[in-house]
């Protein structure tokens, strides 16, 4: 009895389903689109959730089912993921690429020129260095990703610098670009910085910046060399490191490092953060992450931190930047949906929300978005992050520029600059020999 009932029931159900299909029951025109997205794991509490919410809303409205993985950049985890997927030929549809990954994996990346072009049309050009990393061999191999991108301004303890060095950074770089005094800004050069560093060190609060195997080292040394006119390799792949500018910069660093802690040769990316937060340090080159942790754990320190322009050199003012990118793998089955999503994420409306969620850490790839009010509002101190987006004459670069990215990545990740400098300032090598060593290394980087 029971058995029969069940059989009957099953029969009815099957018949019904078949019937519905036969008469053309209003079914969905296309199979539901599926997307998987490997996103950078944001360290700002709540930023991941905000992003997830925004993406899920979009997915619902577009009949897309989306899976998100948040992947940390620590331990090269993000790089490893890209490498694994590139080799395995499977994985996410959209993957967040670390600074230099677009060039490494461009063969298997779907060009995203249409997305980039429509953004450019609407908002104007991308940052020059974001273009440098993503636009290669005449095509956009990936799209500049604002999420996770950051730059390296100075984070200065304004109280210490005012008291011990007589420099009022808040006065030079006020929270309003119109109030800047050109003379004062121009006076903020590496020479002034060195004089100040001596004084704060004498007072027991040195400046700290790492010279080691980490990205932070590249991100302040690269700009420092550039601002003296020293570049490892030019865009035509000529080795240009053997120059007076390089020697001059090394001499400068020899002097500057005398007034820094000896530990800088062993710091990792968080070394300067801890240095500042602990209250021992008076200035570091870093995005606002150090300030954010200080605000949580040592609020008195945070209230005295002012973010502002780096010093100028004889050949200009350069600030370090580490942009991220989004790439769509060629094997993705839903490239159009992926592109739609990336476009949606890059629009001003979405960016406006995401910049708030990241508390201003994420650095827009489109300068048009610098007008976001968050950098004026974040406190303490009020206006302390106003100058995190470039307001003045700073040029954003990544160490290794202007060599072709495939060689730039070698300069960057074989730690050419920190190693060369460390050989002199910590290892006691003659500057000339260190430069010669670097030139020989660079010769090897040209291996194709």
């Amino acid at each position: 009895m029971l058995d029969r009932n069940r059989r009957e029931f099953l029969k009815t159900v099957t018949a019904g389903a078949a019937g519905a299909a036969a008469v053309g029951f209003p079914h969905v025109a296309r199979a539901q689109t599926k997307l998987t997205f490997g996103l950078w794991d944001h360290w700002v509490p709540g930023a991941n959730d905000a992003l997830k919410g925004i993406i899920n809303d979009w997915a619902k409205g577009n009949n897309v089912s989306i899976t998100i993985d948040f992947i940390t950049s620590i331990g090269n985890k993000l790089d490893l993921t890209a490498a694994a997927e590139y080799r395995a030929g499977s994985g996410h549809d959209i993957i967040t690429l670390g600074t230099w990954n677009p060039t490494l994996y461009k063969e298997k990346l779907e060009p995203v020129g249409d997305v980039a072009d429509s953004l450019i049309k609407q908002y104007g050009k991308f940052q020059e260095n974001a273009t440098y990393l993503n636009f290669q061999e005449g095509r956009w191999v990936s799209l500049p990703a604002p999420i996770g991108s950051h730059t390296y301004p100075l984070e200065t303890r304004m109280d210490m610098w005012k008291k011990h060095a007589g420099v009022d950074v808040q006065d030079i770089f006020p929270a309003d670009v119109k109030k800047r005094n050109k003379g004062k800004v121009d006076g903020w050069d590496w020479k002034t910085f060195l004089a100040g560093a001596k004084k704060v060190n004498a007072a027991g609060f040195p400046v700290g910046a790492s010279i080691a195997e980490n990205t932070d080292s590249n991100d302040w040394l690269g700009p420092l060399f550039a601002s003296h006119g020293s570049f490892p390799m030019d865009e035509k792949n000529n080795i240009t490191i053997e120059s007076d500018a390089t020697l001059q910069t090394i001499e400068y660093l020899k002097e500057l490092t005398k007034h820094m802690p000896k530990d800088i040769y062993g710091w990792d990316d968080a070394g300067n953060n801890r240095w500042l937060i602990s209250g021992k340090g008076s200035a570091v080159f870093n995005p606002p992450s150090a300030w954010t942790v200080a605000k949580r754990d040592q609020p008195a320190v945070a209230a005295q931190v002012w973010h502002h322009d780096v010093p100028r050199g004889p050949k200009g003012r350069y600030r370090g930047a580490l942009p991220f990118s989004w790439g769509i793998w060629k094997w993705s089955k839903n490239k159009q949906a992926a592109k739609d999503l990336l476009l949606f994420l890059s629009t001003k409306e979405t960016q406006w929300k995401l910049i708030i969620a990241s508390q201003g850490y994420d650095y827009p790839a489109l300068p048009a978005f610098f007008t976001h009010p968050v950098w004026q509002e974040i406190e303490p101190p009020k206006g302390g992050q106003y100058n995190y987006p470039v307001r003045g004459d700073e040029k954003l670069i990544v160490a290794g520029w202007p060599a072709k990215p495939e060689f730039g990545v070698q300069v960057y990740y074989k730690w050419l600059l920190p190693t060369m400098v460390g050989k002199v300032t910590s290892g006691g090598m003659a500057p000339k020999d260190a430069v010669k060593w670097a030139a020989k290394e660079l010769e090897g980087y040209k291996r194709s």
Binding site: G75, N76, D79, L80, A83, W100, N101, T103, L104, Y105, A212, E213, N214, P261, K262, D263, I264, Y265, G266, W267, D268, G271, R274, W275, S278, K280, V409, Q410, Y413, K414, W415, P418, T419, G422, K423, S426, G427, W437, K440, E441, G444, R447, S448
Partner: protein, 305 residues
């Protein structure tokens, strides 16, 4: 042994010998099949694939033969890696063996009931997942908050640049490896010590041998085999050290603590030069092959004993 065995079977049932022998072989191969599949698919194939990779150019578009190896040998950086890999392995294995031996002897000398707790405590470093305990060490060395330096200063000594000076950085990573590996040596030696018949010591004592003479003439000869095998196995594992260096120094300062594994990782993953990375790793192989020769010889001796 095997000869005797087949001979006896032959004498009893000459007719069935062939079939049994064949079915034995088939069974033997079958039983080894999972092992062979595992090793063939997940070790041998990727191993030969990485040999192939090591002979390609950076973009993996052309075959370059041994050019990558030539390139490495022409560069100072790689010689540094080679040098430190040797220094690290030699010093770490040496100290693990010495400290493990001392500890094993000392624990063995305790009353049996008391041994358990000390043995347990001594195993802690080896039991903790190395990547995580390395983080703990790193947090101890860390320049700004260093607990070690605080302790040194409290004891009236100078703080040390644990991770920022090439000498101390090398010292630091070796120390962590010794900390991690000593318990393994201790436990193997202890196992060996327990297997030495007590009468040997008694008769030595009756002959008037003091503790050091007993050590020299009884313990060491009895443990010779086990010491050799442990050291050789440890050499292999130590040469492949990865976690400690990735966590503590990432190869710094100035490349002074790079070993094969970490340098290959950096080349392959960070700079995208997989062929060169593979070449670096493969340099381990000749060194390991020499160890293998000794291990195999040791095992053959074991098998024939």
């Amino acid at each position: 042994m095997a000869l005797v065995q087949t001979a006896s079977v032959e004498r009893v049932r000459p007719a069935r010998r062939g079939r049994r022998f064949r079915s034995r072989s088939v069974l033997g191969v079958l039983m080894c099949l999972p092992l062979m599949a595992l090793i063939g698919g997940l070790v041998a194939y990727p191993f030969f694939y990485s040999i192939y990779l090591s002979m390609l150019n950076k973009r993996e578009t052309a075959f370059v033969g041994l050019a990558n190896f030539e390139y490495l040998l022409g560069h100072e950086t790689f010689w540094g890696v080679l040098q430190f890999s040797f220094i690290f392995t030699f010093l770490a294995v040496f100290w693990k063996a010495v400290l493990g031996f001392i500890l094993a002897i000392v624990i063995h000398a305790l009353p049996v009931r008391g041994q358990r707790i000390w043995r347990g405590i001594s195993l802690v470093p080896w039991v903790m997942p190395l990547a995580l305990s390395s983080l703990g060490w790193w947090w101890m060395y860390e320049p700004t908050h260093s607990a070690l330096n605080w302790t040194l200063v409290a004891l009236g000594m100078n703080p040390k640049p644990w991770l920022s000076d090439p000498f101390w950085a090398r010292f630091s990573v070796i120390l962590v490896n010794v900390w991690y590996g000593t318990p393994f040596f201790m436990i193997t030696y202890l196992a060996g010590l327990k297997s030495i018949p007590g009468e040997l010591f008694e008769s030595a004592e009756i002959d008037g041998a003091g503790p050091f003479q007993q050590l020299r003439y009884v313990t060491l000869p009895m443990l010779k085999n086990i010491i050799a095998i442990t050291m050789l196995f440890s050499t292999i594992v130590t040469l492949g050290t990865f976690d400690i260096i990735r966590v503590l120094t990432r190869g710094g300062p100035r490349g002074s603590t790079h070993m094969f594994g970490t340098y290959a990782f950096e080349l392959g993953i960070a700079t995208g030069d997989v062929p060169l990375g593979a070449s670096v790793s493969l340099f381990m192989f000749p060194i390991l092959a020499v160890s293998a020769f000794f291990i195999l010889r040791g095992i053959r001796q074991r098998a024939s004993a």
